[in-house]
Amino acid sequence: MSAPSENPAAVVTCALQKFADTPGGLLPLLHDVQASLGHIPKDCVAAIAGGMGLSRAEVHGVISFYHDFHDQPRGRTTIHVCRAEACQAMGSRALEQHVKTRLGIDYGDTTRDMRYSLEPVYCLGNCSCSPSVRIGDEVYARVDAERFDELLARS
């Protein structure tokens, strides 16, 4: 999903052209930059702040506030495991452990080969058919350890 070959400065310039005049445009801008670069590199913060008429602290504050934004390179695919109550009622605590062991990483981490990043998520809105896992943009229902391994092999 990430395209590390893109030039960060060019991506930021392009995003600023799109969103500098948009009211409350910082979130759409950050989404846009992250979609192109896979993350929001720390050394882009100054340019973003300058272009949006904000301080670097304000931009950094927003990036660090939201779980979706990352300032470090990410795996090509992000795997979200739902930790919320409906999934817990169907065995997500065991699934979480399995996923972590299977990928060899904890929440917030990326596999060494940069294929996967693992994140917790608190509800995917698929609560009648728990436990739920999101791989990339696809949500999967009734995921147990076996189904997770199958999905991973397919991804």
């Binding site: 409350g24 979130l27 979706d68 979200h80 817990q88 509800c123 809105g125 609560c127 009648s128």
Partner: protein, 514 residues
């Protein structure tokens, strides 16, 4: 003429392989030499039957489900897409008891129409509400909404008409309508289902609201966890713009309303209305002090309506069919229909729209069919992660806002999460604190720090360390959170914790003697 086969394109249906079912259907139809058209409708919300495949036979739909890709070849052998004997045959969709027993006002189109077809929407009564609204004065629209008794469906249950009136009566050069689609509560998916299955209804509701309060701009704040809803909304908005149902001259009445979707970035707190406004302004989602109310100083400091998706959607029914029609459903001061979402450990989970007043037990047993695991129900959490855990003695509480408040619980956004009797309520209480620690915006100390301390106390209780003293400390901490937090995040985290301690005391004594 091609035979129409309906296969939901909804998130849950697709999470259960509906896309693969659709592909397999096309393959098998070609093999059988049949001309078919696959329609990706929304879901009716009977998620336990998804993927539910429907076919039109003699003008009526018949259903099959749950259909896996492996079932498709067998279905065709049995005579599908015609009437056929097959174990997955469910009969006429309209006769499926689980659906038939509901009173669908808001979700009457879900799963029936093509979500992105404006034509379908209009043919099924869509935009009748707006057509009336453009002929009415703003005050009359607000009056109708007030008369209907509609209260906010996001959780706080504030009377919608009063909120709208405040915005209408506040003088300003710019006003906003915002749709809160940051549906973060575990066990809820009604907003998602509506946006995916019937996005025009939300758009129409917001447009009516704009007419009522004099707003020319609106935002839908959508959580990033809902990519399918994002696609549906953006497509529907573009279609509505082309048809002059959004834009600078709504229905030729000379009034303007422009609508845009903004995507959140994975912060539960942004479902809180003032935090959502901060986020829409491009800032950290820190909760604001109230007053000033958003209705007076909201987005960019201007008068702003903040309503939940279902509230805005319900307005279309109120306008199209009249306040009286809407009012006649419900109980006590809770008028209209309640959308409950049955989830967690439940056999027949999904979306149930019924008038307020039903009993929790009837829902869990009648609609839900008990637990998925087959074990007895142990606890039921109602109203999301900040809602109480109800023990069996409370399952006869009628589902209305006041009755729930009386037993120290809340209906919230209608999420009902069922646990079987293997649940460890200490773990659930601990999770409530942990969730608060992860998702707190950090503005109020009791919420930011107290939640972390709450997790630590729970760990001590689990380890059997001075259980009684730590339970007393936990209660004190809950009091502090309750009294010292600006918003529901810190204020209501004690609700699941206290209910777990009160109703399931044994789970907190397990560490004793260890």
């Amino acid at each position: 003429m091609a035979i129409r086969i309906f296969i939901p394109g909804d998130t849950t249906a697709c999470a259960l392989d509906a896309d693969a079912v659709a592909v397999e259907m096309l393959l098998q139809a070609r093999r059988a030499g049949l001309e078919v058209e696959v329609v990706r409708n929304g879901s009716r919300g009977a998620f336990w039957l998804e993927p539910m495949v429907e076919v039109e036979v003699d003008g009526e739909r018949i259903a099959f489900g749950p259909v896996t890709p492996h079932d498709v070849a067998g279905l065709f052998e049995a005579g599908f897409p015609g009437l056929c004997e097959h174990e997955l045959y469910l009969g006429k969709t309209a006769e499926i008891d689980w659906l038939k027993r509901q009173d669908r006002l808001t979700f009457n189109r879900a799963g029936v129409t093509e979500p992105l077809s404006l034509d379908d929407y209009k043919k099924s009564g869509g935009y009748a509400g707006l057509a009336k609204a453009v002929e009415m004065t703003p005050r009359d629209i607000v009056e109708a909404v007030t008369e209907s008794g509609l209260r906010g469906r996001g959780g706080a249950a504030f009377p919608t008409g009063i909120k709208w009136r405040t915005v209408l009566e506040t003088e300003a050069d710019q006003k906003y309508v915002t749709g809160n689609a940051d549906e973060g509560d575990s066990g809820t998916f009604a907003d998602r289902l509506l946006m995916e299955a019937d996005p025009f209804q939300l758009i129409e509701g917001m447009t009516i609201c704009a007419m009522a309060v004099g707003a020319t701009e609106g935002y839908i704040y959508l959580r990033s966890e809902y990519p399918r809803a994002l696609h549906a909304l953006n497509t529907a908005i573009a279609t509505a713009e082309d048809a002059n149902l959004l834009g600078d001259d709504i229905c030729g009445g000379g009034r303007a309303f422009n609508l845009e979707v903004r995507v959140g970035a994975g912060a539960y707190i942004c479902g809180e209305e003032t935090s959502m406004l901060e986020s829409l302004e491009g800032k950290r989602g820190l909760v604001r002090f109230k007053p000033p109310l958003p209705a007076i100083e909201g987005l960019f400091g201007k008068p702003t309506v903040v309503n939940n998706v279902l509230t805005l959607a319900a307005v279309t029914t109120v306008l199209a069919k009249g306040a009286e029609h809407y009012r006649k459903y419900g109980s006590g001061r809770s008028r209209g229909t309640l959308t409950v979402q049955l989830s967690g450990n439940i056999r027949r989970g999904g979306l149930v729209e019924i008038p307020f007043g039903a009993k929790l037990r009837d829902l869990i047993e009648g609609f839900g069919g008990g637990t998925a695991s087959g074990r007895p129900v142990g606890a039921i959490q109602v109203g999301g992660p900040l809602g109480a855990y109800l023990p069996e003695s409370q399952w006869d509480t009628p589902l209305d806002y006041e009755a729930f408040a009386e037993v120290g619980a809340m209906l919230g956004h209608g999420g009902i999460v069922v646990f079987d009797d293997s649940v460890d309520m200490l773990e659930q209480a601990r999770f409530a604190m942990e969730f608060c620690a992860v998702e707190s915006c950090g503005k109020c100390t009791p919420c930011r720090i107290g939640s972390v301390r709450g997790v630590e106390i729970m760990d001590k209780i689990r380890d059997g360390e001075q259980i009684e003293a730590n339970l007393a400390l936990l209660e004190e901490l809950c009091e502090t959170l309750d009294a010292g937090s600006l918003c529901a995040m810190g204020g209501l985290t004690p609700m699941p914790v206290r209910s777990a301690v009160k109703h399931f005391p044994r789970d907190f004594q397990r560490g004793a003697g260890s």
